[in-house]
């Protein structure tokens, strides 16, 4: 019994050593290529979820692809096996070893991985969206080869909340978040401020109850998203702001099912324009509007900056209304022209600083 | 003579063994031809070749005068050869009909045509006196009936040549008689039968001719009517065989095992053994006779500790062991030769060596501080192997599974007797064994008695009980019918008692 295992081991070691032998000879060929800037290769590592998540990963990847097409760059994304720091840095290492020296990582979960990577691969550049590198102690260390990007989610949420209140005029709305992390919280708080702003300035009566503000705890539990949405709709909620990745997909599914039965229910989308996701019949969608972050734009901008030699290494960038980094979609078939105009007005007020949205909880729910 | 089957000079080699060495077997039409040999003599290999499971290395097979090549069982089927296996190949929760048509279902549209199949079975059953009810479930019918279903399976497929592989080993005496009748009617209807067996009595009773093989070599083909049982046995074993074991008078001493009003529940929750009292003294063999399922297994399991006794006492050397663990009872001097050696006696996937220390592995010198001492285990195994003549192709390192049934049983007997137990409980110790092995094991059991130990023998074979026992306890429906001295009784009396008839006073 002992020995058959041993033999298997031996055979394995043999094969393995052959593989090593092969590789060591040709090692200089593929790897040590300090090729010129012209052959910049752009890589991306996905966060939890797939590349076609209609949200964070997809948005980032679209920006990368757009830049790739425009500048003729080779692009590649890798999907890590798990969601630990080790998994992330393994894929970053794979990209770097394969010659991808410009790497975009969407999501706060990459923070500690990028912290290590920026040090270990000084000749590579990193773009971290929604987070900043740190050693695990939340003290930001943004190296010269890294850019950290944040969005003013509260502003985006505010505009969506305002649009929702103006369109519905009265009734209950709800909020479903993924994990209770700052970007999601800021969406929530901004959304609530938008509702309040509408009632104070335009006399709407759209409110949200504490029981209808829920963080599901993950970004991928589709079934839970559906269930939460069903509960809220049963309690009379008319629209739900779902800032929850895959959980939100579940909510959208529930809303679509109800809309088909003739119910008057809505979802407010997140991150990207999710209108197409909510189509249930012909051209009709249950997506009222979406609280967008211009993720694709951010990714594109960074690659463009690198191409032009102005990569803002070491900086933490904030994408806000002021630099058109957030907003609601330009096309909103479910919003009236009047609503669109009022939202645009508010957007400009935020842009020029006459209207300030708070990014902390204050008196708001959760 | 007109042969339906001729296997001429068949030779088959496995690495290191010549399983069949130029064996010739000729089956005449309408005869019952016995194939006799000890376990491992090559009977199964020869029949497997005929059935297409193995290819012979040399030799020819002729069916009704034509040379054939039987490369798989389907061809054998097409040639009208059918086999009734020793272990039935039936689906328990299917009906008789479903089992019989399995694999050759006639269909009507997309549906299986069970109705007409059942009709055909009924006709066949009546014609050969099989008395099989096509609608019953296999799980609900007796072993004898299951065997008849197997026979019907062959008849349904129009088999002309039927091979019976040890057909009586699973049957009660009545069922055996029934089977003989069926075989005769099959032959009368023009079928031909090869009967694989090692039971001389049956051959004498039913076979026309008999081909004997020994260790893969042909010994000869004889006319059964003119050959004595002793001669057949000699041909099979290769030496003179004592048909009855020599046994001196018993010399009983103190009581070793005392059962006192023992009651034990059976698996179904009812009392399988009721108020059973029995003494077994050192220096004697007490036989427990009874028809299967009358409380023997409850009795044995309660004694060795596999089942909890409901009431009563079990005294071993005067000590109540009723609530002791199996292991402690073994330590107190109890040994068991179980009735089902594969299920209870051996760990078939363990080596012979490991099996031979199954009850002592945890004591010195076979282990120390929880570590096995391989050398000591090996020596012990070699000792038992040589003392009890256990033959294993791969020595003590070979898996127990690879041993023949007789050698497996010898290994168990050796292991148990080597414990030097005060009480040896032997259940069906020679079930399924050939003459040579039976004789050997019987001798060992008597030896145990002669060394002043107590032996409790539980057997369904009345012959065995009568041969070995000094006293016979008869059990019926979980109750003790009576105890008789073996020297003062006969088959008839015990037979009656087994049926529940009380012994007349004074006998």
């Amino acid at each position: 019994m002992f020995k058959k295992g041993l033999l298997f081991m031996l055979a394995f070691v043999l094969v393995a050593s052959m593989a090593v032998g092969c590789t060591s000879r040709t090692n200089t060929g593929g790897n040590g290529d300090g090729k010129s800037e012209d052959s910049l290769k752009v890589g991306m590592v996905t966060d939890a979820g797939t590349i076609d998540d209609k949200s964070f990963n997809q948005g980032t990847w679209e920006g990368v692809v757009k830049a790739g097409n425009e500048f003729g760059l080779e692009t590649r994304y890798l999907k890590p096996v798990g969601t630990t720091e080790a998994h992330y840095i393994t894929e970053i290492g794979n990209l770097v070893d394969a010659g991808y020296k410009f790497i975009v990582c969407p999501g706060f979960k990459f923070e500690t991985a990028i912290f290590q990577a920026q040090e270990r691969y000084p000749d590579a550049k990193f773009v971290l969206i929604d987070g900043y590198p740190h050693a695990g102690d939340w003290a930001p260390v943004v190296a010269a080869n890294t850019v950290s990007i944040f969005f003013a989610e509260h502003e985006s949420g505010f505009l969506a909340g305002l649009a929702t209140a103006l369109e519905l005029q009265e009734g209950e709305v709800g909020f479903i978040g993924g994990m209770e992390i700052p970007p999601v919280q800021k969406f929530n708080w901004g959304f609530q401020q938008g509702l309040l702003y509408a009632s104070e300035n335009f006399g709407t009566n759209v409110t949200v109850k504490a029981e209808n503000v829920i963080y599901q705890g993950t970004f991928d539990n589709v079934a839970a998203g559906q269930q939460l949405a069903a509960q809220m709709y049963d309690k009379g909620v008319k629209a739900i702001f779902a800032a929850a990745g895959g959980v939100g997909v579940g909510s959208i599914n529930e809303a679509k099912a109800r809309a088909k039965d003739g119910d008057d229910v809505w979802i407010v989308g997140v991150d990207v324009d999710q209108y197409a996701e909510g189509i249930y019949e012909g051209n009709k969608s249950i997506i009222l509007t979406s609280a967008m972050k211009q993720i694709d734009q951010a990714a594109y901008d960074m690659i463009k900056a690198e191409k032009e030699g102005v990569f803002p290494g070491g900086e933490i960038l904030l994408f806000t209304a002021a630099n058109d980094g957030i907003g609601i979609p330009k096309e909103n078939p479910n919003l009236s022209a009047d609503v669109m105009a009022k939202v645009a007005e508010a957007f400009n007020m935020i842009k020029n600083g006459t209207l300030v949205i708070s990014d902390v909880q204050g008196d708001l729910i959760k | 003579m007109d042969y339906v089957i001729e296997m001429l000079k068949i030779r088959k080699e496995f690495p290191g063994v010549v399983a069949c060495d130029d064996i010739t077997l000729q089956l005449a039409k309408g005869e019952i031809h016995a194939l006799l040999g000890e376990n491992g003599a090559g009977k199964s290999t020869l029949m497997s070749i005929l059935f297409g499971l193995y290819q012979p290395d040399s030799g020819t097979i002729r069916v009704r005068g034509n040379d054939v090549r039987i490369s798989n069982p389907n061809i054998a089927n097409d040639l009208g050869i059918g086999m009734v296996h020793q272990h039935f190949k039936l689906v328990e929760n299917f009906t008789v009909t479903e089992n019989i048509i399995l694999g050759s279902e006639s269909t009507r549209g997309l549906l299986v045509d069970v109705r007409s199949a059942a009709d055909k079975i009924r006709v066949l059953s009546r014609r050969y006196g099989l008395n099989v009810e096509p609608e019953s479930k296999i799980a609900d019918v007796s072993v004898g009936m299951q065997q008849r279903v197997e026979i019907l399976k062959m008849l349904y497929r129009d088999a002309e040549i039927l091979i019976f592989d040890e057909p009586t080993s699973v049957l009660t005496p009545q069922e055996v008689r029934e089977l003989m009748k069926i075989m005769r009617s099959l032959v009368n209807e023009g079928k031909s039968i090869i009967l694989i067996t090692h039971k001389l009595k049956e051959i004498k009773e039913i076979a026309n001719r008999c081909t004997v093989i020994r260790r893969g070599k042909p010994v000869g083909t004889v006319d059964v009517a003119t050959t004595s049982q002793e001669k057949l046995a000699e041909m099979m074993v290769g030496r003179k065989v004592l048909m009855k074991v020599e046994k001196g008078p018993e010399n009983p001493g103190e009581t070793i095992l005392r059962l006192d009003n023992l009651s034990v529940r059976s698996g179904r929750g009812v009392l399988g053994l009721k108020n059973f009292s029995l003494d077994v003294r050192c220096g004697e063999i007490v036989g427990v006779a009874g028809v299967d399922g009358n409380g023997q297994s409850e009795l044995v399991e309660a004694i060795v500790g596999l089942k909890k006794a409901e009431e009563g006492r079990i005294l071993l050397n005067g000590k109540d062991v009723k609530n002791m663990s199996v292991r402690n009872r073994i330590r107190e001097g109890m040994a068991l030769i179980p009735g089902d050696r594969h299920k209870y006696g051996l760990i078939l996937d363990y080596s012979l060596e490991d099996n031979l220390v199954l009850k002592v592995y945890d004591s010195q010198p076979y282990s120390r501080n929880g570590f096995l001492k391989r050398e000591a285990i090996h020596q012990q195994a070699e000792k038992v192997i040589s003392e009890f003549d256990v033959r294993s192709g791969q020595g003590s390192a070979g898996a127990a599974r690879s041993l023949s049934g007789g050698n497996q049983q010898k290994a168990i007997v050796g292991r148990e007797i080597d414990l030097n137990p005060d009480l040896l409980v032997a259940v069906q110790p020679t079930r399924g064994l050939d003459v040579g092995a039976i004789e050997y094991i019987h001798r060992r059991i008597i030896e145990q008695r002669d060394r002043g130990k107590a032996v409790l023998l539980v057997s369904l074979e009345l012959d065995e009980i009568l041969t070995l026992s000094d006293r016979i306890a008869v059990i019926n429906n979980g109750e003790l019918v009576g105890i008789v001295q073996a020297s003062e009784t006969n088959e008839n009396q015990v037979g009656l008692m087994m049926a529940g008839v009380q012994r007349e006073a004074g006998v």
Partner: protein, 366 residues
């Protein structure tokens, strides 16, 4: 002494035959799996030679990657041992994932609670993991022994109990300052990572876990092959009736076997959560428990076989990202290769039959 020598030679020959068979079967399974993968690569229009070249290179090209291969293999070794150990004793432990979670939770709890020097703290953490995993599996063992509840059902249930236990416990007691869904980061003191080891392997994720794994491969092998305990456990596994008749307590051994299997998986949890990773995430049932079944199968349920199979799988896991980065071959191909290998290992009986027939045609083996 001549007959004795003959017997000895005979024994040796018998052993050799079994080695050859098991070794050949595992090897054939691996080869067939690789061939199937090659066929898939061809079908998807890729070059299998370069595919495998980069796959193996990705796992072996430098010390860092060799280290990562070993680090990836470490938890697999433990879950593989766990499954194999239970299997050898006739039990099917499908709950290695849950046992791993609990082992990790126990280790994390100790590591985050006690502020001891590393050499003192680590043994306590490892021991805690062992106890946690062991207890987690002891319960299904007891249920089986006492009520004849099938261990497959019970261990699957326990997987989910473990999942939700972690889901509750981590945010409630070990929450980081920021994230709801992760425990605090394990401090260096409480991590199985060793700076000297990490730098020796060029910043790899290798940690002390691999040494603990090697130790337990040895321990498991010794228990199974050399001790009375192993003798009893296997006896119960092969034939509980015969074991019982020989005075071996079947119930005791079932509980014991499950406990040992669980303890092994628990240790795997420690090496994963405080070695490979640096914190515990909630809402993730590790896949290692199921991979462990595959590893045990391929390794013929022997400890050394498990070790070999784990390292091989670790290699594929580590290398596939690099293959993906260097070629257009989707990473799923590597997963397919693994799945195919498992498939062929599982159907080894079929392979064996073909093999036997082939041998029979050539030389004649029964």
């Amino acid at each position: 002494m001549k007959p004795n020598t003959g017997k000895y030679v005979q024994q040796l020959r018998a052993i050799k035959v079994t080695i050859n068979k098991e070794y050949v079967l595992a090897f054939v399974a691996v080869i067939l799996g690789l061939l199937a993968g090659a066929a898939l690569m061809l079908l998807t229009g890729n070059n299998p030679v370069s595919g495998y070249y980069y796959l193996f290179r990705g796992g072996l090209m430098n010390v860092e990657r060799v280290g990562n291969t070993l680090a990836t293999a470490t938890p697999l070794i433990f879950t593989g041992l766990s499954v194999a150990f239970a299997f050898r004793t006739g039990l099917f432990n499908i709950g290695a994932s849950g046992q791993m979670l609990i082992g990790g939770l126990f280790a994390t709890a100790v590591g985050l609670t006690l502020d001891w020097p590393k050499p003192l703290l680590l043994p306590v953490m490892v021991f805690a993991a062992l106890v946690g995993g062991g207890l987690w599996a002891a319960l299904p063992g007891w249920l089986k022994a006492r009520f004849n509840v099938h261990e497959v059902v019970a261990t699957i249930m326990m997987n989910w109990i473990a999942y939700w236990t972690v889901f509750y416990t981590v945010p409630r007691y070990f929450k980081g300052p920021f994230l709801e869904t992760e425990s605090q980061r394990i401090p260096y003191n409480a991590s199985l990572k060793l700076n000297s080891l990490t730098s020796l392997f060029g910043g790899s994720y290798i940690n002390l876990g691999i040494f603990i794994a090697l130790l337990f491969v040895l321990i498991a092998a010794v228990i199974l092959e050399r001790t009375t305990l192993g003798y009893e456990l296997k006896a119960v596994g092969f034939n509980r009736h015969a074991a019982e008749s020989a005075g071996i307590s079947v119930n005791k051994n079932i509980i014991l076997s499950m406990t040992i299997a669980g303890a092994l998986a628990g240790l795997g949890g420690a090496t994963f959560y405080v070695g490979y990773a640096s914190n515990m995430q909630i809402g993730v049932l590790p896949s290692h428990g199921f991979d462990g079944i595959a590893v045990a199968l391929l390794g013929a349920n022997t400890p050394l076989g498990v070790l070999g199979a784990s390292v091989f799988f670790g290699l594929l896991h580590t290398g596939k990202g690099f293959m993906n980065a260097m070629t257009r071959i989707p990473p799923e191909i590597a997963d397919t290769v693994m799945a195919t290998i498992i498939y062929f290992a599982a159907t080894s009986i079929m392979v064996e039959r073909v093999w036997t027939r082939w041998r029979a045609k050539r030389g004649g083996v029964r």
